[in-house]
Symmetry: C2
Subunit: 155 residues, 2 copies
C-alpha cells in the first residue's frame, strides 16, 4: 500500500525539508510513503479563486479513480493523535491501493475540491503556514503508526 | 513589555532552532521576546512523576510573583489563530511587565504546576514533540501580532 502526500509548491526552507526527511526515513518502517510537490503557479496576477481552481486541477491530475483521498483542511475533522491513529487504521484496512493526503496551497482548497472529497481532517484550530503543515502532518503520520503498532515514539 | 517562552531542554535539532530564529527575528518588530531553555534533567533513573516535579521546580525558579503565566498544555483551551490574537491582546493590555509562556518537558507538567497556573492553552488536539511545540507556538505568536496589527503575514 502506498501513502502519498500531495502538496503545492516545493518545500522552500531547507530546514523544513530536512525535518521532513527525518520522519520520512522513520516512516519507511511502516509504509511506502512518498511526497508529490506540485510546482506552484507562476502567474502572480491570478485572483485567489482562480489560483485555488488551478491548483485544484493540478492536484486532480495526480489522483486516480480508486484512490482514497484525505484533504488536510482547517475546517476538517479534528482528532487527538490516538483518534487519528484509529482513523489511519480504518483507511489502511479499506483495501485502497493508494491513500492520498493533500495539503492545499497558501489559500487552501477550491470549492470544487472541498465539495468533491469528503474525507477532511484538520491538525489544529489554528492556521499554520502550508509549508509547516506538511511537517506537522508527517510527524503525526509517524506518531499514528507508532501508536497503532504500540512502538515507543522516537522523540 | 517582555514576552518570554520557557522550555525544557535545549532545542536539539539545529533545523528547529534555525526556524525558530526566523520567527524570533520577525517578532522583534512587535515585542521584546526571549526564550529560556532550562537544561534538561540528567538523572535518567527518575520516574516520570519525579521528572515532572523537578522540571516544575526549575520552571518556578524563573518565575516572578507578578508574571502573567500561560502554560501550553494539551488539555488547555483551544483557540483559532484569530481567537488566539484576541487572547494575546487581552494579556498584552493586562499591565503585567512579563508575560511568560511555558512549554513543559517530554511528559508535560506536574500536577502542582497545572493546579497553580490556570491560564492554559493548547495548540492542537494532537500531541506533538515538545521540541516542535516551541516552533509552532512562536509561529502563532508572530501570526497573532500580525492579526492584531492588521499586517500582511510573511509566509
Amino acid at each position: 500500500m502506498n501513502l502519498i502526500l500531495i502538496c503545492i509548491g516545493k518545500t522552500e526552507q531547507k530546514e523544513i525539508d530536512s525535518l521532513i526527511n527525518i520522519y520520512k526515513n522513520r516512516l519507511i518502517h511502516y509504509c511506502d510513503f512518498s511526497m508529490i510537490e506540485i510546482p506552484k503557479l507562476k502567474n502572480k496576477k491570478t485572483s485567489i479563486i482562480e489560483q485555488k481552481n488551478k491548483e485544484g486541477e493540478l492536484i486532480e491530475k495526480h489522483l486516480k479513480n480508486d484512490d482514497l483521498i484525505v484533504l488536510l483542511d482547517e475546517k476538517g475533522k479534528k482528532y487527538s493523535s490516538k483518534e487519528f491513529s484509529f482513523f489511519l487504521n480504518k483507511i489502511l484496512i479499506s483495501g485502497s491501493k493508494r491513500i492520498v493526503f493533500v495539503v492545499g496551497g497558501p489559500y487552501g482548497f477550491s470549492k470544487h475540491i472541498l465539495l468533491k472529497y469528503k474525507n477532511q481532517i484538520s491538525l489544529s484550530e489554528m492556521t499554520f503556514p502550508h509549508q509547516l503543515i506538511r511537517l506537522f502532518f508527517i510527524e503525526q503520520l509517524y506518531r499514528g503508526f507508532t501508536i497503532l503498532k504500540n512502538h515507543p515514539y522516537h522523540n
